[in-house]
């Protein structure tokens, strides 16, 4: 049965509304000065929340923003550096333990970080890694690295190493083969792997709290505190700041890479 032509736009419209609706209260709240029930829209719009975020409470929120960026960027960098070689092996070669390795790598992505972080805390305590950025980065690596490996695995499964042999037969050194042959082929994949790791680390709350002990205040830690304080406009504004990098990345990758790209993050 063909879907009736008139029904099609309707379903698209409903789907669009369903997807975009949750953003509506965030945007409205972040621009509201006073909004009492049961008014559909705020009595007064204004920039109080946004001024608060970037000026008055600026020190705290901007500092959280930078801590988030720093932790996520370093996590992503390490994930990609370690993930590319591993992805290459998994994508290009068959070996017996491959299935086992796949399971071993998929578990940390989905087993909740709280199960791991609660155990790691005692260990990190002895190593002096609790309440440090290094400790938080390490606990984020637990699931960001496997994720990067999976992305690179997929990239290398579609990679033809014959070009490397050709370059080598023409006298290229290993370093030249990597920089002139391999990297140009895989760089979009590397970017996606880095992006995924960044976003995954960016959205972490509980593992940061357990290992960072409140000393490392990333954006999600701040957002939870704000939700507790009940200042809805500011919580809404910070939520939008929090979701911005992911949405920006989505728009960027949709433009540059077309269809299947961010389907992995969830």
């Amino acid at each position: 049965v063909k879907a009736p032509r008139t029904l099609r736009p309707l379903v698209f419209l409903l789907l669009g509304i369903a997807i975009l609706l949750p953003f509506a209260p965030l945007v409205i709240w972040s621009f509201s000065e006073s909004w009492f029930f049961p008014d559909l829209l705020p009595a007064r719009f204004g920039l109080r929340a946004w001024t608060y975020v970037f000026d008055i409470a600026g020190a705290q929120i901007v500092s959280a923003l930078w801590q988030s960026v720093a932790v996520s960027a370093v996590t992503a960098l390490i994930s990609v550096t370690v993930g590319v070689p591993a992805g290459r092996v998994l994508g290009l070669y068959q070996f017996r333990a491959k299935n086992l390795v796949a399971v071993l790598l998929v578990l940390p992505v989905i087993v909740p970080s709280l199960s791991v972080a609660m155990g790691l805390h005692l260990w990190f305590l002895r190593l002096g890694l609790t309440e440090t950025a290094a400790g938080v980065i390490l606990v984020h690596l637990t699931f960001c690295l496997p994720y990067a490996v999976f992305v690179m695995w997929g990239v290398f499964a579609n990679y033809n190493p014959d070009f490397e042999d050709q370059a080598r037969s023409l006298g290229a050194s290993t370093l030249q083969v990597i920089s002139r042959v391999m990297l140009p082929f895989i760089w979009t994949g590397v970017a996606v792997a880095g992006l995924f790791s960044f976003l995954l680390s960016w959205s972490q709350y509980l593992s940061t709290l357990i290992i960072g002990g409140g000393t490392i205040t990333t954006l999600p830690i701040l957002l939870f505190a704000l939700m507790g304080s009940g200042d809805r406009p500011v919580a809404a504004a910070v939520s939008l700041v929090f979701v911005a990098p992911a949405l920006g990345a989505l728009i960027l990758t949709t433009k540059s890479m077309g269809q299947r790209n961010l389907t992995g993050v969830w």
Binding site: L26, W29, F37, V103, L247, T263
Partner: protein
């Protein structure tokens, strides 16, 4: 997402080129990190939940904490509630996803705007989804205001409780919103490539719509669908942010219960918190291994491309 990248085999070599053995060497750093941090974290957790205290050493390891856990009626209530939320969210998301994927495949092609829209929920952190759903669904939220504006209910009391409620409706809505695109895209990746041609074959053989769904579409999407559903179930079962912000203070969902016990001022509660975390890890791991088994079995049979 990928339990294992699907597009394999074209270039994969039987073994490494002769004379070189870079495999394990290149794989080692990644495996070391995962085994040390993930394995180490779970192992250290296990030690503590077996009663190991830093001061007391390794003596007196016992299953007492796990035993106490499974005798605690509050724990069992939390476990049941968590299973209910994860199962309901997965079921609802799966049903919507199947319908949506069938619709999108029939609407000839997933147009760019639609595929962009569909990817939005994938990028939004659960924490923000929870905040947005709270602003949307509480008795003073946007939907309640909309209902008041339409004259349907004009008091806070007139609107049903959807957040911090008995049936976790808001929580389930948050998960469904977040996971439907994931399952839908998993199904579409299979359906887009094989489904349409097979359906044409079915049509020429005079199969009705239900027959085509039951004997062509469903078998085609089943492995991916069940793997996606299991992944969603596993994720929902262990997630913390959404139930922490949207759940009631009693009964709590298991991840919230685990963290509450872990961070309790009473240090004796800590091992039980960690033990709960390990129970969650065990449930999630079993679910994922099952998903992986389904996918690799059907891939070997050539059922998934």
């Amino acid at each position: 997402m990928m339990v294992q990248p699907a597009t394999e085999g074209t270039q994969a070599r039987a073994q490494s080129p002769p004379g070189r053995l870079p495999h394990l060497l290149l794989l080692t750093p990644a495996l070391l990190v995962v085994v040390a941090l993930f394995g180490g974290g779970l192992f250290m957790g296990l030690l503590q939940s077996l009663g190991h205290l830093p001061a007391a050493g390794l003596k007196n390891l016992s299953l007492a904490h796990f035993g106490a856990l499974f005798k605690d009626p509050d724990f069992l209530t939390s476990l049941r509630l968590t299973l209910y939320v994860a199962a309901t969210a997965t079921l609802v998301a799966t049903l919507i996803s199947v319908a949506l994927a069938l619709f999108l495949v029939r609407a000839s092609r997933l147009n760019r705007l639609m595929s962009f829209l569909l990817q939005i929920p994938l990028t939004v952190p659960h924490l923000v989804v929870a905040v947005a759903m709270i602003f949307l669904l509480t008795p003073t939220g946007l939907i309640a205001r909309l209902a008041a504006w339409l004259g349907l209910s004009d008091t806070v009391q007139g609107f049903p409780l959807l957040v911090n409620d008995t049936w976790c409706i808001g929580m389930i809505a948050a998960y469904v919103w977040k996971e439907v695109p994931f399952i839908t895209l998993m199904i579409l990746s299979v359906l887009g490539s094989t489904g349409v041609e097979l359906l044409d074959v079915g049509r020429t053989l005079k199969a009705g719509p239900w027959q085509r769904f039951r004997f062509i579409t469903l078998p085609t999407i089943f492995p991916s669908l069940s793997a996606a559903a299991l992944i969603v179930f596993a994720y929902t079962f262990g997630a913390f942010e959404v139930p922490f912000l949207m759940g009631r203070t009693y009964p709590m969902l298991l991840p919230v219960w685990a963290y509450k016990s872990y961070s309790d001022v009473d240090l004796m509660a800590r091992p039980e918190g960690i033990a709960t975390g390990l129970v969650i890890a065990a449930v999630v791991s079993l679910t994922i291994v099952l998903a992986h088994a389904i996918l690799s079995y059907s891939r070997r049979r050539g059922m998934v491309l």
